[in-house]
């Protein structure tokens, strides 16, 4: 056992691990910068750093450590076990989401939080955590059909169990109602169907069906959400409401210029005052651009893409279809979050409550992302020595 573990440790993909931890620490610094008072000349450095270890930064930091612990613990588990348990995972997911609907707390019109207040106050967003479980369920469903089957998916009925399960999960999230998060689930499902060698004869009609169903989904939006789409199309509609947030986000992003004002600068618009709402959560990208400048932001985008595409690489060399799909599911999850969040910050996308993984303040999302990437590393370290060899053997 000892030697097996060592064998696996040697195969850990340190590139992914370092990128993940690096981005998270960078995110923590951003949260601290955006929510603190900024560094004043003359304050003893250690004293200033001491003041940072309070509030939002501290909370996020602790969650980061706990998440790392969970991810490492899960590393010891062969992912085949997870695959075998997929039906129970699905049932657990549904129960958790139903419980959220029943016992959850309302925030901004959504019933998406499960909270306990005693002995310490902890809030959990099952909509975030269930993303990992959903990826496992989707992947297992697809792998059942495609494992060892070179033709891939050629019959619609092979997809039906997957679509039903995904529909139930997305439906429960729409009921919260959190339309943005539900769209992420649907997106992951569609992306995985695409990756699972599904015949174009199925993909094309599916794409058409998706396009047709958009107007129907529109009906499920709350007036609040519709308003955000309208304002996205024409920000001048509501310059003091939602349009205000976007306008403010844009002015904040542009305030840093090419090189930025620097993290912890006292000049940051985001530091004091309520100049930018949600500056440490949904709009943290804008806060970041002000601090690190446009050049810094572009470098950040490149690093983030490196992480996503590194996961592509891990997927390509996975031992089996299930593993490959799980990693791609995580990669697409990151990609969708990244595109939507950065997009809304710079005015390319309508405003939704989709956070920027590893960077935005919010424990549930951070934990989900760390554990999900940990699972990818887990799958990757259990890969066969040589994929090509394995393929030949299977043939």
């Amino acid at each position: 056992m000892e030697s097996t573990n060592r064998k696996y440790i040697n195969k850990i993909d340190w590139f992914t691990v370092i990128l993940t931890i690096g981005l998270t620490i960078f995110g923590l610094l951003n949260i601290a910068s955006a929510t603190s008072e900024g560094y004043e000349e003359g304050t003893p450095l250690m004293e200033y750093i001491g003041t940072l270890f309070t509030g939002k930064f501290l909370r996020q930091f602790i969650i980061f450590l706990v998440s790392l612990g969970i991810a490492i613990a899960l590393m010891f588990m062969n992912y085949d076990t997870i695959k075998d348990l997929n039906l129970f995972i699905f049932i657990g997911t549904v129960l958790l989401l139903v419980a959220t609907l029943i016992f959850g707390n309302r925030q901004r019109g959504m019933r998406g939080w499960l909270t306990i207040t005693k002995p310490i106050s902890i809030g959990l967003q099952p909509g975030e955590l269930c993303k990992i479980m959903a990826i496992i369920v989707f992947s297992a469903e697809l792998a059942k059909v495609t494992e060892g089957n070179k033709l891939g998916i050629t019959r619609v009925r092979d997809l039906i169990p997957l679509i039903i399960k995904a529909g139930i999960i997305a439906g429960l999230i729409i009921a919260q109602p959190d339309f943005g998060t539900a769209m992420i689930y649907i997106g992951i499902m569609l992306a995985l169907i695409f990756m699972a060698k599904t015949s174009w004869k199925i993909l094309v009609p599916l794409a058409v069906l998706g396009a047709v169903s958009l107007p129907i989904l529109w009906m499920f939006l709350t007036p609040d959400q519709k308003a955000r789409v309208y304002v996205f199309l024409d920000p001048s509609l509501d310059p003091e409401g939602y349009g205000y947030n976007v306008g403010r986000a844009k002015s904040v992003s542009s305030a840093g210029g090419m090189t930025g004002k620097g993290l912890f600068s006292r000049d940051l618009l985001t530091q004091k005052s309520s100049y930018l709402p949600e500056k440490h959560t949904d709009f943290i990208f804008s806060s970041m651009v002000e601090a690190i400048g446009i050049i810094g932001a572009v470098i950040f985008v490149i690093i983030y893409l490196l992480l996503i595409f590194r996961l592509f690489r891990l997927s390509m060399r996975a031992r089996d279809d299930f593993g490959a799909y799980v990693i791609m599911g995580v990669a697409f999850m990151l990609a969708f979050h990244f595109i939507e969040n950065v997009g809304m910050n710079i005015g390319l996308m309508p405003v939704t409550g989709i956070p920027l993984p590893l960077i935005s303040y919010g424990g549930s999302n951070l934990m989900t992302t760390i554990v999900a990437i940990g699972m990818c590393v887990n799958i990757d370290m259990r890969r066969a020595k040589n994929n090509k060899l394995r393929d030949i053997v299977l043939k």
């Binding site: 891939g152 695409f194 306008g247 100049y275 709402p277 446009i294 572009v298 595409f309 390509m316």
Partner: protein, 807 residues
């Protein structure tokens, strides 16, 4: 596997790269154009409302005006957001509150959470809101107050906020909510921090001086100039002038926003303030001024860039004479109180008789006089000179928002001061209706000026032997009036005469003339809440197209209940218990027969009983149930007897006092029916008249002089002692009795004479009528007791005229 799907990995890679490329381009694009945008964000404008127009009476006496006042406002620099800043501001608020209260000024407290008397904390939200509106209100508030969980107990939120805003432990609950109330407003404006928050309105100069001198330490606290609405005449004419308030309905707010109103704007809620809002207001686009601020990068106000002074609202001049109005209100108040005392004495004297009568009916409480209305109208122009009602209220109470207790007190006060019964109430007119019947009879040629009708006692033309017939009021003291002409019939208020005229006319013709005289339509007076009356008719007592509990009068419901009980009784007689559905179906089936509008509906009644309740026809016939049911149903069937009683304005006819005033004018001015007018003109802020208002002529009936004179002669004799008119003795010693003409009215509305409605109509001078006076006291005792008010009004008007002539 790898070989097969490599292409899909590449496709995904390319798609994500393309999107990222667009994003990177957009990020580079953030630089130039958005910076301009950021510049624009640093200039903000707030609107400054202008002065509201004044309201004057016909002689230029000021009835309502805007006075310059000082408000205490607060501006929080958005940079100050740390916990230490909050503690500092809380201290500033406490100092500020102390200064304001020390000088006797009031704070505007609107904190959403209150502690009830039992110590429980609750949201102070109007119970009229639906559950959904309530939740959204709480959600919005919690999000503004940055409370993460809106389902927290209000008490916990309260302590949470105390803690957050660093209110010291030793501050009492009462003080804490004042501070939290200010914080609440500050939080509401979080994203528009350049908008300042009002702490107190209309403060005294002492407060202003003290706050100004302590300006340095009270950072953010400022004094702003504003306006406060003053009603110098207080209770007098408050029903006409009305009051201001904020827009409460969200939908209304949305509509009004286009005109420039905001949630804070005060606008007219009732009366002239409401109907003339578009002229009076200084808060609509075009009159609003603007103040433009330059903000720095952090959102703090750097300086004022531009100021455009607001315009002023137009002033409104009314046709009323405030002196006359005051006299009328005072006299009416005294008069109603006097009637009330008399009623109480009468009741005490005949207690056993009245208690027995009370016992016989459903409503066990006795309604005594507690309100009244007095209207003075110019006969030839239909301009309103006075529109008084009792009780009154002080509309200054509403300035700056009426307090909960004051409003509750007004709503619960006896006589409902907020309900203007001069225009909003309808009531049975009784004998004052008779001029209309007389005029209709004459105009239709059914009687002539010298036609004689012989009052032979009960009017039993349509009543079978032995039953009660409508009779004249002189019974039982005398048996009858004998031979009557239209003149003597008016003088004596002889019912028989008008029964006969109404019978000759028929209900359709009578209804037509009442309509043409403007009695059953709105007068169009420029006030809020005018009601409209009606004359009795088949559709008034029972309209089969409407559900049973949605009828003009309560009669159909009473009949329904009585009938249902009867049918249940028949079931008991036969030893059968009918289901609720059966009883309902049978009752409604029987009431439906009313639509046939005839009395011989025996077969139809028997058919319903046999079909729905399974009672054989012979049983019904044997037990005489047909006629029992018929005698109940007849209440809803319009009979010739009903037509006849409409001739004397009996129930179910109901009129509004203002419509009676217009009809009295038409009778006295040769038949010209106008809209009622209370607006003389509207003058803009430069003194130019922009609207000249006159009553609109709706119809000229061209009443032949002969008829007018006859009716006037009859009305003259009513108030004449020599002719023993019904009001002769009342005016015996009255200074102006020689120029008066009029008509009294007593309308029974229940089985107890104390509850009768009383009316008095007067016209003066009788030769060439100038003013018409209508007095109305609901539940005002059996005889017209409003002479005191009438005398006061007539005396004031003609004394004034006399004085003008002499000067």
């Amino acid at each position: 596997m790898f070989e097969k799907i490599k292409i899909r990995y590449i496709t995904s890679f390319i798609i994500i790269m393309l999107i990222s490329a667009v994003m990177v381009l957009k990020i580079f694009g953030l630089k130039a154009p958005e910076q301009e945008n950021a510049m624009n964000k640093n200039v903000v404008s707030v609107s400054v409302p202008g002065k509201r127009g004044s309201i004057y009476d016909r002689n230029g006496v000021l009835l309502a005006y805007d006075e310059e006042a000082y408000d205490v406002i607060f501006y929080r620099d958005p940079v100050d957001n740390a916990s230490s800043d909050r503690a500092r501001y809380t201290q500033i608020f406490m100092d500020c509150i102390e200064i304001i209260e020390k000088n006797g000024d009031k704070l505007s407290n609107s904190f959403l959470i209150t502690k009830k008397e039992d110590g429980k904390f609750v949201y102070n939200i109007s119970s009229e809101l639906t559950e959904e509106q309530r939740t959204s209100r709480i959600d919005r508030w919690c999000s503004n107050m940055q409370i993460s969980d809106p389902e927290m107990e209000p008490e916990d939120i309260y302590y949470d906020l105390r803690n957050r805003f660093r209110i010291p432990e030793n501050v009492s609950y009462e003080e804490a909510v004042k501070i939290l109330s200010i914080w609440q407003e500050v939080q509401n404006n979080m994203y528009q921090s350049y908008k300042k928050v009002t702490i107190a309105t209309n403060v005294s100069l002492e407060t202003v001086y003290e706050l100004e001198t302590r300006g340095e330490e009270l950072k953010g606290v400022e004094i702003a100039q504003s306006y406060v609405r003053i009603y110098p005449k207080k209770e007098v004419a408050s029903n006409i002038i009305g009051y201001l308030g904020r827009i409460v309905d969200n939908q209304e707010l949305e509509e009004k926003k286009e005109k420039g109103y905001t949630a804070e704007t005060l606008l007219g809620k009732i009366g002239i303030e409401a109907t003339m809002e578009e002229y009076l207001t200084g808060s609509i686009t075009g009159r609003l001024g603007t103040k433009t601020y330059i903000l720095d990068d952090k959102g703090s106000i750097k300086r004022v860039a531009n100021y455009v002074a607001p315009g002023q609202g137009d002033s409104v001049v009314l046709t009323i004479d405030i002196g006359l109005q005051e006299v009328a209100e005072k006299a009416l108040a005294e008069n109603v109180k006097k009637i009330r005392r008399e009623q109480e004495q009468t009741y005490a004297r005949n207690r056993s008789k009245y208690d027995k009568l009370l016992n016989e009916r459903a409503v066990k409480t006795l309604s005594l006089a507690n309100s009244g209305a007095a209207i003075v109208m110019e006969v030839k122009t239909c301009n309103v000179l006075a529109l008084a009602r009792y009780p009154s209220f002080d509309n200054n109470l509403f300035t700056g928002g009426i307090s909960e207790e004051d409003y509750k007190a007004l709503l619960e006060q006896e006589g409902a001061p907020l309900f203007d019964n001069s225009i909003s109430s309808t009531s049975t007119p009784g004998s004052i209706f008779k001029m209309a019947t007389a005029l209709a009879g004459l105009m239709e040629g059914k009687i002539k000026v010298n036609s004689v009708i012989d009052d032979s006692g009960p009017y039993d033309k349509y009543v079978s032997e032995g039953a009660d017939a409508p009779a004249c009021w002189v019974k039982p003291r005398y048996s009858k009036h004998g031979k009557q002409t239209v003149i003597s019939a008016l003088k004596n208020s002889c019912n028989y005469f008008f029964f006969e005229v109404a019978d000759r006319l028929g209900i359709d013709k009578l209804t037509e003339w009442v309509g043409r005289l403007g009695m059953t339509s709105k007068t169009g007076i420029q006030l809020t809440g005018e009601a409209v009356g009606w004359i009795g008719g088949p559709k008034i007592i029972y309209d089969s197209s409407l559900p049973i509990n949605d009828q003009k009068t309560s009669r159909p419901l009473l009949v329904y209940n009585k009938l249902k009980n009867q049918l249940e009784g028949y079931g008991e007689d036969r030893g059968v218990t009918y289901t609720e559905e059966q009883l309902e179906e049978a009752t409604l089936g029987l009431i439906k027969l009313v639509d046939l509008q005839r009395l011989d509906i025996g077969p139809e009644i028997r058919e319903v009983l046999s079909r729905v309740l399974d009672i054989p026809t012979n049983v019904v016939l044997r037990r005489g149930w047909t006629s029992e049911i018929m005698s109940t149903l007849i209440e809803l069937i319009w009979t010739p007897t009903d037509t006849v009683t409409q001739g004397i304005g009996a129930t179910p006819t109901q009129l509004t006092p203002i419509a009676v005033a217009r009809y009295l004018c038409a009778i006295s001015n040769g038949g010209r029916v106008y809209t009622a007018n209370i607006l003389k003109r509207i003058v803009d802020s430069r003194g130019k008249t922009i609207v000249d208002s006159k009553a609109e002529l709706l119809e000229d009936l061209h009443i032949p002089e002969e008829y007018s004179e006859a009716i006037m002669e009859g009305m003259e004799q009513v108030v004449s002692w020599e002719n023993r008119g019904t009001a002769g003795s009342a005016f015996l010693d009255f200074k102006y009795r020689k120029i008066l003409a009029g008509k009294t009215g007593t309308a029974p509305i229940s089985n107890i004479d104390l509850e009768d409605n009383i009316w008095l109509c007067l016209v003066a001078p009788k030769e060439d009528p100038e003013i018409a006076v209508v007095l109305f006291v609901p539940n005002g005792l059996s005889d017209s007791k409003v002479y005191d008010t009438a005398k006061a009004i007539i005396t004031y008007y003609f004394d004034q005229k006399e004085a003008e002539k002499n000067s």
